[in-house]
């Protein structure tokens, strides 16, 4: 008799148990239940989201591997490919910020090098509660220290990210990590267990009781107010070991380079169960796993514990018997533990045996865990108060005559303020690739990596991650389109053309119809923007149940966009201004009133979150991205910054601060034009009127709205009739904000 009580406690519904019994054509034993429960958890199965994810565009000629594998892979030419992936580690980071973030970095890197790619960069979009609150500060400190402690030690530079703060993240911070890797196309290997008689070799750390059921208990449920319930989750906390991972990276890349492994798969969520069943089912094969052969960190571990442990820094390599000796020798050179824990069979079944040729403890169709996952079309419903909120336009809010104080207030907000306090703790320079470091719109790297000779560094890539829960809470569809546009623009300002996008869908409880509506809308908005901007979606992650004490977070999709720079021989324009420079707004005009809906100004200075987001012309944004890349290539742009949080005001202020120069801007139609966050806009700096005329001419030709805003002059941010603040004052407010908050 299947133990339905146990099934329930493992997070399986009655219907799911029926489904399991149907698949097995008999009752399920406890081990089998545990294996299904982790594989069918929200985290591993995407059971609430998969029916919607299909709407994302994933195809392009240069996409070698789309969503579904360890990482997405795109062709960069010259036989070089880029592996890209984004993951979240939100729930673990709320419980043990340092280890939660650290293991988040470790986990995503394994996805990258399991594909044969050398990890070359990490980006870390972060969301915390207000930093005035000691607990949020503790979480922020721990998370940043964890990313620093793991990322630096494992030898992968962290080249950018985001830091945003909002009360909705106080009980449930967001820790997303994007990672990139480089590989020679011919090394491209997909995790497959083919070849009956091939051996499954477990590499890396021993298996302990840590992280048992992490995906089902931790990643697939919210945080309750009940201390008991929370305490029950505690044994799940895992500790990262960057030194083990570093040796694993070197060993695995050597394994794949020397063709000693048929396939390599990382052990992440759902541990051995996931790795063995996925490699087997994708290879159309079966697998026997020998529990006693798995090196165990603690005495008396049960088969369930061994099969579902999420101990970190482990990889599964599929190896032919002839190569085994060579594999073990290679592993030994790097002091990496290597044990044969099973073999590939032709049965199509995943069998768990007590030991080699031992008793069969569990026997399920390998594909059933992976491919027969349940899919739910959960009820969706537009929030009841939506119409009301949209009607409540911030246009009615009092506008200051002197906007200076508001500009300073915006610059002091952690979502806008200088993030040096964060990224100074990250090694952002390893591999001598980082041409534009954290602090600019996009990070820019030379395209090269150890062990990838075909990439000589003459090309470059630009990366940006963006998200905006404030926009998305007003309108998840348009808000998501706006963040895709922002990321694409950030990359374009570096002179790059769009290559691909990865996304992390951080949402609340999918059992709330409003949350499912948000998720579905966000996916549609992303799909529309990606189609318009030529951005194939090559990977993503869905993190649900981001809620605490019954309150869902704002819909918080986060996207990472990668662009390719064909010739990187001079540094691309930074957030910079040159003497005698002329400022041009591209993608819109500022001499007419604009919508303040969704703006940081309305939220921060008036606690107002209503209205209808400003319209976004995706076709025009696509043209703007192309124009920007051309202008940069032609060397006409001497500084650039996109208009985002805080609107034109903050964009101009950040340009002044970075350059240590003032600007004199005219024809801005009041506070609404100054603080509106209408998307798809960039301010560029041309060196003189002639160059400016050239740029505006090309904007006209491309059918892109624009406005010459003024010139680089003096030592103040001067906007006629509205703002006049010394750059020095802007700079000190902007620079001191985060250090002051973090103490």
């Amino acid at each position: 008799m299947t133990d339905r009580g146990l099934a329930l406690s493992l997070g399986l519904t009655d219907d799911e148990v029926d489904r399991i019994e149907a698949i097995l054509e008999r009752d399920a034993n406890d081990l089998e239940l545990a294996m299904f429960s982790v594989m069918w958890s929200e985290h591993c199965s995407y059971k609430s989201s998969s029916i919607h994810l299909g709407r994302l565009p994933t195809e392009a000629p240069h996409v070698l591997v789309g969503p579904g594998e360890g990482a997405g892979i795109v062709d960069c030419g010259d036989g070089v490919a880029l592996a890209v992936r984004i993951e979240s580690h939100n729930h673990p980071s709320a419980i043990e910020p340092y280890q939660g973030a650290a293991t988040g970095v470790g986990g995503i890197l394994r996805d990258i090098f399991s594909m044969g790619a050398r990890p070359i960069a990490v980006m870390d979009p972060l969301r915390f509660g207000p930093l005035e609150d000691p607990r949020s500060r503790w979480i922020a400190e721990g998370v940043v220290a964890g990313i620093s402690g793991y990322g630096n030690a494992v030898g992968v530079p962290t080249v950018g990210g985001e830091l945003k703060v909002d009360p909705c993240y106080a009980g449930n911070p967001l820790v997303n990590v994007m990672a990139l890797g480089l590989l020679p196309v011919e090394r491209l290997v997909l995790a497959r267990a083919s070849g009956v008689g091939n051996l499954a070799v477990l590499l890396g750390s021993t298996t302990g009781r840590d992280g048992i059921g992490g995906v089902s208990v931790l990643a697939s449920a919210g945080f309750s107010a009940d201390a008991e319930v929370e305490a029950a989750k505690r044994p799940n906390v895992q500790v990262g070991d960057p030194f083990e991972e570093k040796r694993l990276i070197e060993a695995c890349l050597e394994l794949l380079e020397s063709r000693l492994a048929v396939g390599v798969q990382d052990l992440g969520g759902a541990g051995l169960t996931c790795a063995t069943s996925e490699t087997a089912s994708k290879g159309g094969a079966g697998m026997d796993v020998w529990v006693a052969a798995v090196p165990q960190r603690e005495p008396g571990m049960t088969p369930v514990e061994v099969m579902t442990s999420e101990s970190q820094e482990r990889m599964l390599a599929i190896v032919t018997p002839e190569n085994l000796a060579a594999v073990l020798e290679l592993a030994d050179r790097w002091d990496v533990r290597a044990n044969v824990v099973g073999e590939v069979t032709g049965t199509g079944r995943l069998r768990i045996l007590s030991e080699e040729a031992g008793v069969v403890l569990g026997d399920v169709p390998a594909a059933s865990l992976d491919e027969d996952k349940p899919q739910y079309s959960r009820p969706r419903q537009e929030p009841a108060d939506r119409a009301e909120r949209q009607a409540d336009d911030p246009g009615r809010l009092p506008r200051p005559t002197d906007c200076g104080p508001d500009v300073l207030a915006l610059l002091a907000d952690p979502s806008v303020a200088d993030t040096t306090w964060v990224h100074r703790q990250y090694d952002s320079q390893l591999f001598l690739n980082t041409v534009v470091s954290p602090g600019a719109d996009a990070a820019v790297l030379r395209l090269k990596a150890p062990g990838v000779p075909a990439a000589d560094g003459s090309k470059g890539i630009a990366l940006s991650t963006d998200g905006n829960g404030r926009w998305c809470s007003l309108d998840p569809r348009r808000g998501t389109a706006m963040i895709v546009a922002e990321a694409a623009l950030n990359v374009a300002t570096a002179g790059a053309r769009p290559l691909c996008l990865v996304n992390n869908l951080n949402f609340g409880n999918p059992e709330h119809p409003e949350v499912m509506w948000q998720l579905s809308e966000a996916i549609d908005g992303m799909a529309e923007a990606c189609l318009a901007l030529d951005l194939p979606v090559v990977g993503g992650n869905v993190s649900l149940y981001n809620e605490s004490q019954g309150r869902d977070i704002d819909p918080s999709p986060i996207v990472g966009v990668v662009g390719l720079i064909d010739e990187l021989d001079v540094p691309p324009p930074a957030v910079e201004l040159v003497d005698g420079g002329v400022l041009i707004l591209l993608g819109g005009r500022a001499d007419t009133e604009a919508s303040l809906a969704g703006s940081l100004w309305a939220d921060l200075l008036h606690g107002h979150r209503g209205g209808e987001l400003p319209p976004l012309d995706l076709a025009r944004t696509a043209r703007l991205c192309r124009l920007l890349a051309e202008l940069v290539f032609d060397g006409l742009v001497f500084g650039a910054h996109d208009v985002s949080d805080g609107g034109l005001a903050v964009c101009l202020a950040e340009l002044c601060i970075a350059a240590g120069r003032g600007v004199e801007v005219v024809d801005v139609a009041g506070a609404s034009a100054l603080f509106s966050e209408a998307g798809g806009r960039v301010v560029v700096c041309a060196d003189g009127d002639g160059a400016a005329a050239g740029i505006t001419r090309r904007a006209v030709a491309a059918g892109i709205a624009h406005q010459v805003l003024g010139s680089v002059a003096g030592d103040r941010l001067a906007v006629e009739g509205m703002v006049s603040v010394p750059v020095a004052e802007l700079a000190s407010v902007w620079r001191r904000a985060l250090p002051r908050l973090m103490g």
């Binding site: 419980i95 043990e96 280890q99 750390s205 302990g208 009781r209 840590d210 505690r234 044994p235 906390v237 895992q238 500790v239 990262g240 070991d241 030194f243 083990e244 960190r297 603690e298 101990s311 970190q312 002091d335």
Partner: protein
């Protein structure tokens, strides 16, 4: 009123992996050392505490451990009152 010399030993909870301890242990053969196992690395925090009596000192330090010196999710603390000087 008295002054107490207190030692707080912060250790990883049983079952929580200790990569540093494991790495140290694995390196011992390279040093020609054998017969050493179970290496675990923790913190030894020494404090001087003013309190009416030892019980008071312990209360104060335990509270400090809970709220500040450890993350109870992964760490345990053992408090030893080493010496006491009456005032």
């Amino acid at each position: 009123m008295a002054v107490f010399e207190v030692l707080v030993e912060v250790t990883l909870r049983p079952g929580i992996a200790d990569p540093e301890g494991a790495t140290i242990e694995r390196s011992l053969p390279m040093l020609g050392v054998s017969g050493v196992s179970g290496v675990r690395v923790g913190k030894a925090i020494r404090l001087t505490v003013e309190a009416d009596d030892e019980a008071g000192a312990r209360r104060l330090v335990h509270d400090l451990c809970e709220r500040f010196l450890t993350n109870p999710v992964i760490e345990d603390a053992t408090v030893t009152v080493a010496a006491a000087v009456m005032l």
